[in-house]
């Protein structure tokens, strides 16, 4: 049925919005929808060409209606595709801002889903999205580079305390602070300056305690 696949894409997009990780790219559906668009467009061209220029909609309402329906389907499919890709690209951008390693995320998603699908042959990102993620990351780094003192990707919560309690969730090695080096080993707890560990909290190495 016309537009059914497009609908699937939108449902996928909707689902993606609520997920913390990016689900695998639906290569097959995207390809099928694109093919549908091409086929429909071919039909449109055949219909219009058969009239050789002087087409009068009121003389042949059935044909006119077919044209209109074809055309609307094409447009709708385009919208569905755009929506799907935009939602995913926004997710990718968000990951870049959060300083997450995209490749690591992909790996994690694969491990998570691999248990059910056995093998993990599905790629979370399409090659085009991979490229996009890389370039967006570069661009973000360039913009951020002008604001090194501010750390643009830092927390958007208003700071309350200079120092906070953190618990170490994963071994994070040694970090340098103005009061000397601290070794962050798993399950230990520290009272540190928020600015020093912001990044590690975001990456999930540390947990902030109240």
């Amino acid at each position: 049925m016309y537009g059914e696949l497009g609908n699937k894409l939108v449902i996928h997009a909707k689902r993606t919005q609520a997920l913390s990780q990016l689900p695998p790219y639906q290569t097959d559906i995207v390809r099928a929808v694109t093919r549908e668009v091409r086929d429909l467009n071919q039909d449109i061209n055949e219909i219009t060409n058969s009239y050789e220029g002087d087409f009068n909609p009121s003389a042949d309402p059935a044909r006119a209606c077919a044209l209109l329906v074809h055309h609307l389907c094409v447009r709708r499919n385009k919208r569905c595709l755009l929506a799907y890709h935009r939602v995913r690209s926004e997710k990718i951008e968000q990951m870049c801002w959060n300083g997450m390693d995209i490749m690591e995320q992909v790996q994690a998603a694969r491990v998570g889903e691999g248990e059910e699908e056995s093998g993990g042959s599905s790629h979370a990102l399409s090659p085009e999205e991979d490229e996009y993620a890389r370039q967006y990351g570069d661009m973000l780094a360039a913009y951020k580079g002008q604001w090194t003192d501010i750390d643009l990707t830092g927390s958007l919560e208003p700071p309350k305390d200079l120092f906070i309690d953190v618990r170490v969730l994963k071994d994070a090695g040694e970090i340098q602070t103005e009061y000397g080096a601290i070794t962050l080993s798993k399950n230990s707890q520290f009272f540190v300056r928020q600015g020093d560990v912001e990044r590690l909290i975001k990456q999930g190495f540390l947990q902030k305690l109240n």
């Binding site: 995207v30 094409v74 890709h85 913009y143 003192d149 643009l152 927390s155 958007l156 700071p159 200079l162």
Partner: protein, 220 residues
């Protein structure tokens, strides 16, 4: 210790010793709130941000110089300075991020309107252009390249829906009047509302757009 207590002390300190500094800080606060509350992108506060950034850099240097100091009094002072510094840094960060969020949201609208484009700082303009080029490339290589030529555009308005998202200038905003001003309401007959300093209104953004830019009212 409650965080609010510290900011009270700092405010007194600021008011006594450095009036121009605290003016800048208040301005930053004001433009940050304006930017967050206004539906459209506002003029980038180039000079203001530059002045504050200079001060931030000086404070960072000062902190680095003083870090070795073991005198407890200096140490306490340092903590206050650092807390204040974190706050200012947060303000600027949030200000810039708010702008980036708006730029991303209304990218094509801003790109196609020269007057809006000039409100951006040079690096924001670069960001906007590069980002749109990247997105375009993503769409094109993912599926648009297989589309018929006449359907590849990303900014047409056929079918009744424009593809370019614009800010809703008629959304309601809360504001406080800074200076007495008469606001013309776009109503049949062009009604005017006299606004007195200190008054608080809820009004359509489009009616007070100019007043916000001139600083006659501030959004809250």
């Amino acid at each position: 210790m409650d965080a609010m207590d510290i900011s009270d002390i700092l405010r007194e300190f600021d008011a006594e010793n450095a009036p121009s500094n605290s003016k800048d800080y208040e301005d930053l606060l004001k433009w940050w709130v304006n930017e967050r509350a206004a539906p459209e992108i506002l003029q980038y506060q180039d000079d203001l941000v530059e002045r504050i950034m200079n001060r931030v850099r000086r404070q960072i240097e000062h902190i680095e110089d003083q870090t070795g100091n073991l005198d407890p009094r200096a140490n306490f002072q340092l903590i206050i300075i650092q807390t204040e510094l974190e706050r200012v840094k947060f303000l600027i960060r949030s200000y810039l991020r708010t702008r980036i969020a708006k730029i991303d949201k209304h990218a094509l609208h801003i790109l196609s309107t020269p007057t809006l484009r000039h409100l951006l700082s040079p690096s924001e303009q670069t960001y906007l252009k590069t980002h749109q080029a990247l997105l375009n490339e993503l769409y094109l290589s993912s599926f648009l390249k297989n589309f018929p030529e006449n359907l590849r555009r990303l900014d047409d308005s056929a079918g009744g829906i424009s593809m370019v998202e614009e800010p809703d200038l008629d959304s309601a905003v809360f504001l406080r009047v800074v200076r007495d001003v008469d606001i013309e309401i776009a109503w049949e007959g062009g009604e005017t509302v006299p606004m007195r300093a200190g008054d608080v209104y809820v009004i359509r953004y489009s009616a007070v757009k100019e007043a916000v830019k001139k600083g006659e009212v501030e959004l809250i």
